[in-house]
Symmetry: C2
Subunit: 478 residues, 2 copies
Amino acid sequence: MGKDKKLVEAITSMAVDFPQWYTDVVKKAELIDYSSVRGCMIIKPYGYGIWELLQKQLDQRFKDTGHENVYMPMFIPESLLQKEKDHVEGFAPEVAWVTHGGDEKLNERLCVRPTSETLFCEHYANDIESYRDLPKLYNQWCSVVRWEKTTRPFLRSLEFLWQEGHTAHASEEEAQEETLRMLNVYADFCEEVLAIPMIKGQKTESEKFAGAKATYTIESLMHDGKALQSGTSHNFGDGFAKAFGIQFTDKDNKLKYVHQTSWGVSTRLLGAIIMVHGDDNGLVLPPAIAPTQVAIIPIAQHKEGVLDKANEIKALLSQNIRVKLDDSDKSSGWKFSEQEMKGIPVRVELGPKDIEKNQGVIVRRDNREKIFVSLDDIETKVQEVLEAVQKGLLEKAKAHKDENTFVATNMEEFEKIITTTPGFIKAMWCGDEACEETIKEKTKATARCIPFEQEKISDTCICCGKPADQMVYFARAY
Amino acid sequence: MGKDKKLVEAITSMAVDFPQWYTDVVKKAELIDYSSVRGCMIIKPYGYGIWELLQKQLDQRFKDTGHENVYMPMFIPESLLQKEKDHVEGFAPEVAWVTHGGDEKLNERLCVRPTSETLFCEHYANDIESYRDLPKLYNQWCSVVRWEKTTRPFLRSLEFLWQEGHTAHASEEEAQEETLRMLNVYADFCEEVLAIPMIKGQKTESEKFAGAKATYTIESLMHDGKALQSGTSHNFGDGFAKAFGIQFTDKDNKLKYVHQTSWGVSTRLLGAIIMVHGDDNGLVLPPAIAPTQVAIIPIAQHKEGVLDKANEIKALLSQNIRVKLDDSDKSSGWKFSEQEMKGIPVRVELGPKDIEKNQGVIVRRDNREKIFVSLDDIETKVQEVLEAVQKGLLEKAKAHKDENTFVATNMEEFEKIITTTPGFIKAMWCGDEACEETIKEKTKATARCIPFEQEKISDTCICCGKPADQMVYFARAY
């Protein structure tokens, strides 16, 4: 029992210290490890397994919407990065610079890509000639580097894994359609696969991407009431096209600039999964991205027939489910703790008495419900329970978001909410950056987005009292 | 006809200028493009599609042999790179150095990984405590950077995509088993999927990996008679373990060093596919890694019923085959050239007269054989032809390798062969590095490997005449 206790005790409670709870889960669930490289993480097999499942399913959605994968160089020459003015201002302060190749000093510094707009633009300028070459619907899976001062696993690190879509279109309308299409692909994916509900909306001017005409975002609410920007989709208009000279001959034989978009999500989504679904026993994974969906844990496995039966059930379930049988020599209490810590959605307990009765015990990770089931029906029942967990997690997350979404009509209310019950705050905003800035200074809450689904809360800006016709979601954010 | 001619004429013949033919194919088949980043390539959708299929199938073989994927940082601090003496000597001259993060000069330079042994070792030193933690069977898919002076797409570039396996074991025997297991996984994969026969063997001391106890290799023969090192697997013994302090408590309660291996293949394999199977009409892809396996090309598609039938056949074939229907407004001659250039293994021609007779014409890319087939049987027949192409390509490549593998018993023979009919040369070697060096200087041929399948050609070294009991494969190599 000593060992079991150690594992359980090792986690700080969410209520006591949320950031520490997060760090504990990330380490104890064996998602990542640290290395001697400041701000970079090692993604361990279990963490990478989640990323692979996420990547596979998201990639399929990209392909289903006509996108193709490519690979661009990881280096960007300084002169290329500088071609689009806003873009270089946004990124230059936070890039890693390569100055030497072997012993030789380079004539021109290269930065390690913080994002690849400039490389895609250069390629498009070479590759696009006619309207027949459009649209270009490219995506890239890679790692990028941003020289952050403070870092946290998955949420903010010097290097992280992501995908970046980059598209070029013949018209403004098409580019706008694509921008919103991909935002919807992200939002649907997050709901259907990660079981995380998203607020969709547009970023304010001050929060938009460096070089974009408009940035759209999906925002989710973590367990501690802070928001997480979970994915963005940008409409570049023809700004980059003009800076890089990306032109095509249209059907009317006129030379025109393309309209572009880009969109990305990253390993940050793993941070969202942890902070939306996790609890004081560790990680809780939605079955759709759980590397192991079911852990079979034999009880008194030394007794005759137990392991045989467990292996039989494993073989049966393995046909359509990702199953592991824990037949190690640890105690079953220890195995339960481990399965819970790793967030395996369902465990099947199987002991000598169960086998005598031709039954198994299914235990849900999310709510610890125990279900006794005949071994004849176990495959169907486990499948049903997995679906119920996937659905249940989304409902729970939706309820949490709804319960922690508030309305404020004046700054007093706003400040009271943010200090007592942090969450999303819906409030009216006049559109003035000064008000956005004032709210941020006073409350540390930022404008997360101007949601597509608008409500008329009042007629006036929560900050300055002038007429306002936009409702904004505010929150403190990661 | 003008457009068609242009496409065909654009390729240099192999016989006239093999390197130019290679560059032409790589560009015209739309595998890659160049960028302003010296020595780095853009892998375009068609090239990346091949890599994705290769990756997927190889990854499955890694998982089937118990390996797990992880992700390590892309940066290595200079002090970490220096921990293993031979390793740093081998790699330091060809790494890219990051010296600045944003505006700030770093206290310690970071190199962009040329390979990740040092990072895995550091992690293993932290993570391994007991024999229960062994073996560690990790793999990583990523890009690496080596500061090469001269570069060629896929064959040698500053940055390339690869996988690197890194494993740690409790015993010397286990590490050796793993080293050879993975070499066999590579060789089988290359034969069964890429249709490329491999010579398996050990590298000589002078050709082995920096820091390894022994390096094993798979070597293939290109169409021009030059060899290509296609994959390597290294046994590190306990050298890295001692340098990094990777110890574990064994069952006998004693503290021991682990034994390690690493193994890798890269986008270089795409170069092998091009140079083994390609011909004067362009790329020829084995069906197993062809992004499009079948191109349906309608003839006189403006005629009633042709496109309808073509779409019907497409839907039928798409169930189990990667099919594209080219219904663009290009001429069918142009479409044929394009399908051949891109190496699509099979095309199905479908014209009004064929449809009248309820038939289609299957044309093999590899030997241009035409097969008339009833549309009732087309799915089965296309499947059969794809299998025949896959098999045929391997047989052809085997025949080419056998025909271009020679025996030399003295240096005169050796030099004559290498200048008139380049290929593999089997010759005896005494084991002295001086002889290896002399042969290289005189003939530009290097010892590719000491093959597992030995033959006794003579009793004496081809170079010095002293007693020799090892047969070596020599060749000029990429």
